[in-house]
Symmetry: C2
Subunit: 335 residues, 2 copies
């Protein structure tokens, strides 16, 4: 399969039109004052199902519909936003969906997935769920909607950045978090086409730094065990063949520690009044470093990936009071 | 001073135009399914300064500007959203502002108020701050912007409901929380003018039930001591002469306990992906009771008042996991 092009993104944007929200761009005057730059946030947490993931799943199915090859059923492996995205996308086409999840899936996410009409099948571990989905997908009437490493998925996720850049006009840099790399790969395709002068910068948890290590070694590296990170949306064990090619075109990439993740989740919730998930806050450690490196005022776009958070994670995020300690920007140089 | 009329609301809406955001209407398909009704939320937490309060403060000053009687300085007594609203409104007209607050003001709210250019003066108690503002307001060059009991403030707050009803079209009921009663009085003026068939329903904390007791006794009752409630925006010790007249025209009024407040703050943050403050969740106890009483599907508008929350309050809200227990609607009948 060829890598997705900007034409694929334009086709995806057209397909998604009736099914996906145009999410707003928000900013905080206080944050802009602190950083000395204008930071524009694309609020994909306000997307239907609460995350950008809907874009890829709907694009894949809508393309099948266009080509008259809709499957009898769809399957997917996910314990997170992709599960809800596939469940909702399948419901748009009245196709039964089964989600293969690790039993560690949060009951709230499982309930949301089921509320869109999908069946959730739980397995002891993530890799057992990944195995089971492959077996199920061997059925010729079944379509597997993969979480990130497919041209249709990447083109769908790319519409988030595409839509945002049309809303904001010119920006100097685009930031997005990295799990499997679908959102960030889409940011590369859309930004290179629409605003080729803009930098594209990624971030992932230090505790799940497979992408960072892969970019350093030049080959795809995997996490050896499930990572312990607040940013569950970026806990993917490794990036894919398709996404890795795009990630290698990034201008910069940051590893973010757990304190920074909790700190920026608090502050973004407080400043933007959005219930963003910790994965959405990853970009801010990169933004603050970029802010210090750029002495003249610039404009950045930050893609907020989603807003699906368990109560347990909310407790962890708010157990310290970071709102009393606005950012010491120079500290960011130490990372 | 005469009570504000719908003409005053229309004039306020025109004045506010350039200074105030048109906030979006959001809804949750899952919540609609649970309740069997369509619930539309006016997201005033996404208003500049994070709350509807900006509308009243700007209306009062913009009216002064129209009449060429802008003061040399403004003062206000508040430890909450009104402080930030007055600070921001004064900055629009380059007028120095001083906020008289109880020293229990959260450091984050004080910092936000100062970030808009105002001076914050702290007093041991709320009543000492209320005393001090009256002394300061005796100066003829100084304008006191009261928190709720003034026709310009009520007309300004009324633009939130006015704007919402133009966005939603016909609804069957309008819900808003009650602190001093400014937002709810505005809801009465705007709803009676635009959609006179719609019910208007208020809610306040059981722990700060002065308005409820006042409505029962027919005279304004006051809280005897500062209330212990998560809904700090509704902790006002008593309603005012102007607002009481409007509150007496409500179709229904509910007292809401602290468990319900925490429960619905969690769920609204989770479902709407908005960082709403507990005061915004008060209406939901009333909505669920209304939902049970109405057997056929109806449409309700809920005004979400704001999104300014301290970390300490976030900790209290999320210390239990209510997301695992979707609402038992019949329980609401026991109140």
């Amino acid at each position: 399969m060829a890598a997705p092009t900007y034409d694929d993104v334009l086709a995806a944007a057209k397909r998604l039109g009736p099914h996906v929200q145009q999410t707003p761009i928000l900013e905080s005057s206080l944050l802009n004052k602190w950083l000395g730059h204008r930071i524009l946030f694309k609020a994909e947490c306000l997307q239907t199902i609460g995350a950008f993931k809907l874009r890829g799943a709907v694009n894949m199915l809508a393309r099948c519909a266009e080509q008259n090859r809709l499957p009898r059923q769809v399957v997917a492996n996910s314990s997170g936003n992709h599960a809800q995205a596939v469940a909702y996308a399948a419901s748009l086409y009245n196709i039964p969906a089964t989600i293969f999840a690790a039993q560690s899936i949060s009951p709230v996410k499982a309930a949301a997935t089921e509320s869109y009409g999908a069946k959730v099948q739980c397995y002891a571990t993530r890799s057992e769920a990944d195995q089971a989905v492959q077996t199920a997908a061997a059925d010729p009437d079944t379509l597997w909607i993969p979480p990130f490493d497919h041209p249709d998925i990447i083109a769908g996720q790319a519409t988030a950045t595409h839509e945002a850049l049309l809303q904001t006009g010119p920006v100097d840099a685009v930031f997005a978090p990295c799990g499997g790399g679908g959102l960030l790969s889409g940011a590369v395709v859309s930004t290179q086409a629409l605003q080729p002068q803009a930098q594209i910068i990624g971030a992932e948890p230090e505790q799940a730094n497979d992408a960072s290590r892969s970019l350093q070694s030049g080959t795809i590296e995997s996490l050896s065990s499930p990572p312990d990170t607040l940013a569950d949306g970026a806990a993917t064990p490794s990036v894919g063949e398709h996404t890795f090619g795009f990630l290698q075109q990034l201008d910069d990439f940051y590893e973010v520690n757990e304190v920074q993740i909790a700190y920026w989740t608090q502050w973004l919730q407080h400043l933007l009044k959005l219930h963003i998930e910790p994965t959405s806050a990853l970009s801010m450690a990169a933004v603050t470093a970029w802010a210090v490196e750029n002495p003249t005022p610039k404009t950045a776009l930050v893609i907020l990936s989603g807003g699906n958070i368990s109560a347990a994670t909310m407790q962890k995020i708010w157990q310290q009071d970071y709102l009393l300690q606005p950012p010491n920007l120079t500290q960011q140089d130490d990372k």
